[in-house]
């Protein structure tokens, strides 16, 4: 047990950062799913991933170590993906296969980039499948700070954002809403940061697992939100802790399986 507490000491930043980010991503994912834009955020994530890998490749080629470069290129490509999808794809009724095509295209480019830069292979694996345990203290602290700020904003504007989501799918969103613009920007920033620090798999899983389970048997928005956060926080904490107890268990799959198990418990609970 002592060694477990020692491990918790080592991961004193990455553990709370990953648990908090899981909750914030779950809130983001809930609104995007309600807006019928899950495929769009899936592609946005892959676009950001490509940008992050591109940033790493440039750092390798230049012999530099600017972490901000990956984040900046990740954000730029993510923003470009959002722009393309909002302007050209979103209005089309047959948009899902276009999103999948774009996803495969971005994935191919990421793979090509990795193949051309062999030194990137380990980075590529950690960018894709995630590596929370080796997240830098600075990365974890940045995620904690931004996660707290954006999570607070989401909960403060939760009803209003839910109303916007409803109006968007009901084709009656006629008034510009600055909070909704902030939501879009925050989504881009938080998703890219989560991919850079915790990987694509962790980010996508945390976006969609909690809402898939919580939406089923909730009575109203309040009970749904409570369930959503329980699944994300408790599932991530349990998953992370289990992975610490074994040297063979990778963190990200444990965190995601933890979220699914807690989600399943909530689903079966009357």
């Amino acid at each position: 047990m002592n060694s477990f507490w020692e491990l918790l000491q080592i991961y004193r930043w990455s553990l709370p950062a990953s648990v908090l980010m899981a909750g914030v991503l779950a809130l983001i994912g809930a609104q995007w799913t309600a807006r019928e834009k899950s495929a769009q955020i899936f592609v946005l994530g892959q676009g950001s991933s490509l940008g992050i890998v591109l940033g790493l490749a440039i750092n390798l080629l230049l012999g530099t170590d600017y972490h901000g470069l990956s984040l900046a290129i990740g954000l730029s490509l993510g923003w470009l993906t959002l722009l393309i999808s909002d302007l050209l794809i979103e209005t089309r009724a047959d948009r899902n296969h276009i999103y999948l095509t774009l996803f495969v295209f971005f994935l191919s480019l990421t793979y090509l980039l990795t193949a051309l830069t062999p030194a990137l292979e380990s980075h590529m694996a950690s960018s894709y499948f995630g590596d929370i345990a080796v997240m830098s203290d600075f990365g974890a602290q940045a995620c904690l700070l931004l996660g707290l700020l954006f999570g607070g904003f989401l909960l403060w504007q939760w009803r209003s954002l839910s109303a916007v989501s409803f109006q968007l799918v009901n084709h009656s969103f006629i008034h510009r809403n600055p909070y909704n613009r902030l939501f879009d920007l925050g989504t881009l920033l938080l998703t890219t940061m989560a991919i850079q620090s915790m990987g694509y798999l962790y980010t996508m899983g945390s976006l969609f697992i909690a809402t898939s389970f919580a939406a089923q048997r909730s009575e109203n928005l309040k009970s749904y939100t409570r369930k959503l956060l329980w699944i994300a926080f408790l599932g991530s904490f349990l998953g992370f802790s289990v992975s610490l107890l074994s040297t063979n268990l990778p963190t990200v799959p444990c965190v995601l399986i933890g979220q699914m198990l807690v989600g399943f418990l909530f689903y079966t609970k009357k």
């Binding site: 309600a34 839910s162 989501s165 409803f166 008034h175 909730s218 009575e219 109203n220 928005l221």
Partner: protein
């Protein structure tokens, strides 16, 4: 009388440039009820969406004489299943909870299991609560039972009476029972 909306030669088009409605000219004055009438597919709903900025392709021009925030819109009621498990109460702003439209409704009921009439009453109560200058309704009586349709019609009549400077633009095939002030008809064909 103040002109709330001025429309000149407005014609909705498709992205490819095909006409989706005839060109229309009209003005909407405060306190007026404007009925848009025409066959199915004539372009009534698309014209409304164009005015509201939901349909981007058009020729001609239009100008609202009021802040866009004081315009409210209810589209045709579809069979929308919403991902978030909202109760009917969740969909109402605080100022709408006392609306007579909600009489007898179980507000704990979920949107996804509510009937067409219940859904329309909730949505209408929510938009009326903001006391809009221009209320735009697209077929508000579709998918609504007879009793609910009467309640909705009465609520609209009450709203216009209590807010004599507000105007209503409505697409509807229903023959109204109530006599409303300043009614005009615009044929879309």
């Amino acid at each position: 009388m103040t002109t709330l909306l001025q429309v000149q030669n407005l014609q909705a088009r498709s992205r490819e440039g095909k006409n989706l409605s005839p060109a229309v000219n009209f003005e909407l004055q405060e306190g007026e009820v404007l009925f848009l009438r025409g066959e199915n597919g004539a372009g009534k709903s698309t014209l409304l969406k164009t005015l509201l900025g939901l349909h981007k392709y058009f020729t001609g021009n239009f100008r609202f004489g009021v802040d866009k925030k004081s315009v409210q819109y209810l589209p045709q009621l579809g069979n929308l299943h919403f991902h978030l498990p909202l109760s009917l109460r969740d969909m109402l702003p605080a100022e709408a909870v006392d609306s007579p439209l909600l009489k007898g409704l179980d507000l704990q009921k979920k949107w996804n299991t509510a009937s067409g009439g219940e859904r329309q009453k909730i949505l209408l109560a929510a938009v009326l609560a903001s006391k809009p200058s221009v209320l735009v309704l697209d077929e508000p009586f579709n998918h609504v039972d007879k009793e609910s349709a009467q309640t909705i019609e009465q609520a609209l009549g009450r709203f216009l009476k209590e807010n004599p400077r507000s105007s209503l633009m409505i697409v509807s095939h229903r023959a109204f029972i109530q006599e409303w002030p300043h009614v005009r008809f615009l044929e879309i064909r």
